[in-house]
């Protein structure tokens, strides 16, 4: 397989230096890298899973609104970024496979190369204090 463009490689190298969870996807939403803090969110290690198809990793946690209702995918920042090639942000709740709830803020941005080509997206998860 051909090497990734340097914009993707540099995003991974940056993510690797950060203490906040970062997910990097290709243009189809397949998860091509997540850093160590993101491993905690997913409950899996990148070294063990490698890249994950969108169908697989999108089911690892369930997004909910403040009332506990499921959020439709089109309202999720990363999904919107992949569709519109624009940055997005939203706070919501995720429920892990073990049933744990976590308040988070997600900021996502498109990776658009120097040549203007859309290469993928980055989602940064920010864990917020859980409200009672």
């Amino acid at each position: 397989m051909a090497a990734y463009e340097i914009e993707i490689i540099l995003n991974r190298q940056l993510a690797d230096c950060l203490s906040i969870p970062v997910f990097i996807t290709d243009t189809a939403g397949n998860l091509i890298f997540y850093n160590e803090p993101a491993e905690e969110v997913l409950g899996q290690r990148f070294e063990e899973t490698g890249e994950m198809p969108v169908e697989e990793w999108s089911t690892v946690f369930k997004p909910l609104d403040k009332m506990g209702n499921p959020l439709p995918p089109e309202e999720l920042p990363l999904v919107r970024t992949l569709k519109e090639e624009l940055p997005h942000h939203k706070s919501f709740i995720i429920e892990s496979l073990k049933g744990q709830l976590q308040n988070i803020s997600v900021t996502s941005y498109p990776i658009i190369s120097r040549t203007g080509k859309f290469l993928g997206a980055v989602a940064i998860f920010w864990k917020k204090k859980n409200e009672n």
């Binding site: 397989m1 051909a2 090497a3 990734y4 463009e5 340097i6 490689i9 540099l10 991974r12 190298q13 940056l14 690797d16 230096c17 190369s113 120097r114 040549t115």
Partner: protein, 278 residues
């Protein structure tokens, strides 16, 4: 095809006996086949392409990796640019904001240089490239953006079955843990894969690199790891630091070879040396 090194020094040209053996001119290499000359980078080494070294073909392609001064400083002294019978094609990395013409004109215009780029007598053609494939004479060329500050490409030059890869400025190890050990995550890998000869940046010692991360250069260790991952047949270690004397460069390589395991054939790039690839 024949590869000749005209300049292998990094950052700024050097003079004096301490750097005389490996040479003090900055980045320039020619690739020749069937009388067709490709010029890679326009550092001060390019000035030597005159007299008996003057390219005889009407069309000359100059491939710039990037526009840092040590890679373009010799352009104003490249005789064919002042020859109305020559057709010069300059290829360089596209930027997001300014044209190649505009960026080259910042150097080739007063007060830095007396002659304007647009006033050069040759027939000048500028080509902006990125992750591109193109042809020049008998050569097929691939360029890819690589890790170095500002728009920078490396080149893979193919003539029939021989491959020469030119990445004089490159920091593939930029990050927390150095070069990622999966080839698809390595900057420049596609350019170097299986090359017969790779000319690659090796400016810093391991200690210097700790102080100069993000400056866009490599150590011998990282350059050889990169070459090894790409399974190149031979690596020329280049872009010698201006403060490194000939004796110091020899010491750097010897000390690396003592500690390294299985490495590809590695040699220090030396001005004036030629290689024949077939």
């Amino acid at each position: 095809m024949k590869i000749k090194l005209w300049g292998v020094r990094g950052s700024i040209p050097t003079t004096g006996p301490e750097t005389e053996y490996y040479g003090g001119n900055t980045s320039c290499v020619t690739v020749t086949h069937d009388g067709y000359v490709l010029v890679l980078d326009g550092g001060t080494g390019i000035r030597q392409l005159t007299g008996s070294n003057y390219p005889s073909n009407k069309r000359i392609d100059v491939l710039l990796t990037h526009l840092h001064l040590d890679h373009i400083q010799g352009l104003g002294f490249f005789s064919p640019l002042f020859d109305a019978s020559k057709e010069i094609h300059i290829w360089g990395p596209a930027s997001t904001s300014q044209s190649l013409f505009s960026r080259l004109s910042r150097y080739l215009s007063p007060p830095l240089f007396p002659v304007l780029l647009r006033d050069l007598p040759c027939k000048l053609h500028l080509h902006e490239i990125g992750n591109s494939h193109f042809e020049a004479g008998p050569f097929r060329i691939q360029s890819n953006y690589i890790i170095h500050p500002g728009p920078t490409v490396g080149y893979r030059v193919i003539e029939k079955t021989a491959v020469f890869t030119f990445i004089p400025d490159h920091e593939p190890a930029l990050g927390n843990n150095g070069i990622i050990k999966e080839t698809k995550w390595v900057s420049g890998y596609d350019l170097a894969e299986g090359a017969d000869l790779l000319l690659h940046d090796s400016q810093f010692t391991n200690d210097e690199y700790l102080q100069k991360r993000g400056w866009g250069h490599s150590t011998i260790t990282d350059a050889c790891l990169f070459a090894s991952m790409a399974e190149v047949k031979k690596i020329l270690l280049s872009h010698h630091d201006p403060s490194h004397s000939d004796a110091f460069l020899d010491e750097m390589l010897e000390s690396f070879k003592k500690t390294a395991g299985n490495i590809p054939q590695a040699a220090l790039a030396k001005e004036g040396v030629e290689f024949e690839l077939s």
